[in-house]
Amino acid sequence: MYSDKVLDHFTNPRNVGEIDDASGVGEVGNMKCGDIMKMYLKINDESNVIEDVTFKTFGCGAAIATSSMSTEMIKGKTIEEALDVTNRAIADALDGLPPVKMHCSVLAEEALKAALLDYQKKSGKNLGLNEEDFEDWDEE
């Protein structure tokens, strides 16, 4: 049911881990549905380039693969370019996801946006992101 690319990213996930001095950290999802994604960004304050990105994910094969793919898609990109990455683009880059798994790609997009929101707060820059758009993963 999964494409070869999904299985590849699930088996050999890219950029797994934490960044100790991350510029922004975002965590989305909840235990109830069984997917939690946490994304760490290291951003160059002057160039706005995402120099490093890592993730940690609790979730199914698609959740891990979309996390991995999204980190690949934004590494080395500017914040502006990263904000343009949609869940559809993540799914397409994986040669598609089963319909029931599309929410995993949504979660990956949200994790990225949540990490950028955190960076917006810490840096004082206005990236045009609103707090209200994000839910706390703790809620059940």
Binding site: F10, M31, G34, K38, T57
Partner: protein
């Protein structure tokens, strides 16, 4: 790479003796068992021989055996048909929250027809309480359905106690024995059930064949209409090939049961202790000992997700299943695990391994050895494991 099938609770391979009998039937016998000519008569004979084998396996009379298309169909004819046929006597039904969906969804359908249903809760190991059951009984209770053995966590329910109470109060009692036939003794007279459902493909027989046992004198209503086959309860030309296959499968399953179940119980316990002993933060779901089906292992590996576990196990060559939301086909994890009081986290990390004929001790050693690094790898990328290790709240 090794290929290890640990999903016998889902289905089993067809054993060679069954394939042989089915192939021979397919080649030699094509007559309709309802035809009285020389082509129909051998089909009828084979069907009745199979019926005798099924009856002998569960201590029933051949006249009490109805062939159906699946275990699900047998459950439906017993529950939906049984309730409708006895509606005049009362409107109340009792079942449990941990039944297979073949049973649960039949009750949901009856609720829409106006029946009242009590769903008995279970304890942490998946058992109902007989006291709870007695308290749930009402003057208008007409039908009770309680599974013999649970398909997810292997809990064996006290069906004989329930059966005795129902018989005394003249309440119809159905039990879904799909997981227990061929694993533990199933005796319709000892259980005192009025209906019992079983399935061919869980006992090394073909898919697409089930059996409804219906005690002599008990009434139900048909759900389908057509010919007079199977006492009008399962009209349609009988699937002779599958019926013959089921007959051979059940006869062998019961003949080999004592020895095979003893062997599987040892392997089961070795697997349970091996995994619990080698991976921290794991727990067994369901009971230990002789109240657990001999082939069932269900372990939660905390802070990892079930589908990711299954996929990784599959890459290492062994096939299992899980009660996580992603594998249950809904947004919620297994209703059985949740009913037992597991948290979402623990239910999402459940791994069911069901053993069978082909399972060897080497397989079990291999799985124990492979699971530990699998859990470690998935935990290394789990933010929930990170939270746990840092002593942060999980929920």
């Amino acid at each position: 790479m090794r290929k290890i099938y640990l999903d016998h609770g889902a289905t089993t391979p067809i054993r060679s003796e069954v394939i042989e009998a089915m192939t021979k039937t397919m080649q030699d016998v094509y007559g309709n068992p309802s035809s009285i000519h020389q082509f129909g008569r051998p089909a009828r004979k084979l069907m009745e021989e199979a019926r005798e084998k099924v009856a002998a396996a569960i201590n029933a009379d051949p006249k009490e055996i109805i062939f159906t298309g699946s275990g699900t169909e047998a459950d439906n004819i017993a529950i939906v048909g049984g309730a409708r046929a006895n509606k005049k006597k009362g409107n109340h039904l009792i079942t449990t929250v941990v039944e297979h969906h073949a049973v649960l969804d039949a009750f949901k359908a009856l609720e829409k027809e106006g029946f009242e249903v009590t769903y008995l809760e279970v304890d942490a190991e998946g058992f109902i309480s007989v006291e709870d059951f007695k308290n749930a009984l009402r003057d208008d209770t007409i039908l009770v359905s309680i599974m013999h053995g649970n398909n997810e966590v292997g809990t064996i329910m006290p069906v004989a106690e329930i059966g005795a109470i129902c018989r005394e109060r003249k309440i119809l009692f159905h039990t879904d024995a799909v997981q227990t036939v061929g694993k533990i003794p199933v005796d319709v007279k000892a259980i005192q059930c009025d209906f019992l459902a079983l399935s061919g493909h869980k006992i090394y027989g073909p898919k697409g064949i089930g059996v409804l046992y219906m005690r002599r004198g008990v009434r139900t209503q048909p759900l389908y209409f057509g010919g007079g086959q199977e006492r009008k309860l399962r009209p349609g030309t009988e699937n002779i090939v599958n019926i013959v296959g089921l007959g051979v499968a059940i006869e062998l399953a019961v003949k080999e049961m004592a020895e095979e179940s003893a062997r599987l119980t040892k392997l089961r316990d070795k697997l349970i202790e091996g995994v619990l002993g080698s991976i921290p933060e794991t727990r067994l779901n369901g009971p230990r000992g002789d109240k657990r089906l001999p082939h069932n292992v269900n372990i939660s590996i905390e802070y990892v997700e079930g589908e990711a576990l299954i996929l990784t196990c599959d890459m290492k060559g062994f096939a299992c299943s899980s009660g996580s939301a992603c594998t249950s086909g809904s947004l919620d994890p297994s209703h059985v695990l949740m009913a037992m009081g597991l948290t979402h986290t623990t239910a999402h990390g459940s791994l069911r391994m069901t053993l069978g004929h082909a399972t060897t001790e080497e397989d079990i050693d291999y799985v124990i050895n492979e699971l530990q690094p699998i859990a470690e790898r998935l935990r290394a990328m789990s933010p929930v494991w990170e939270r746990f290790q840092k002593g942060l709240p999980i929920h």
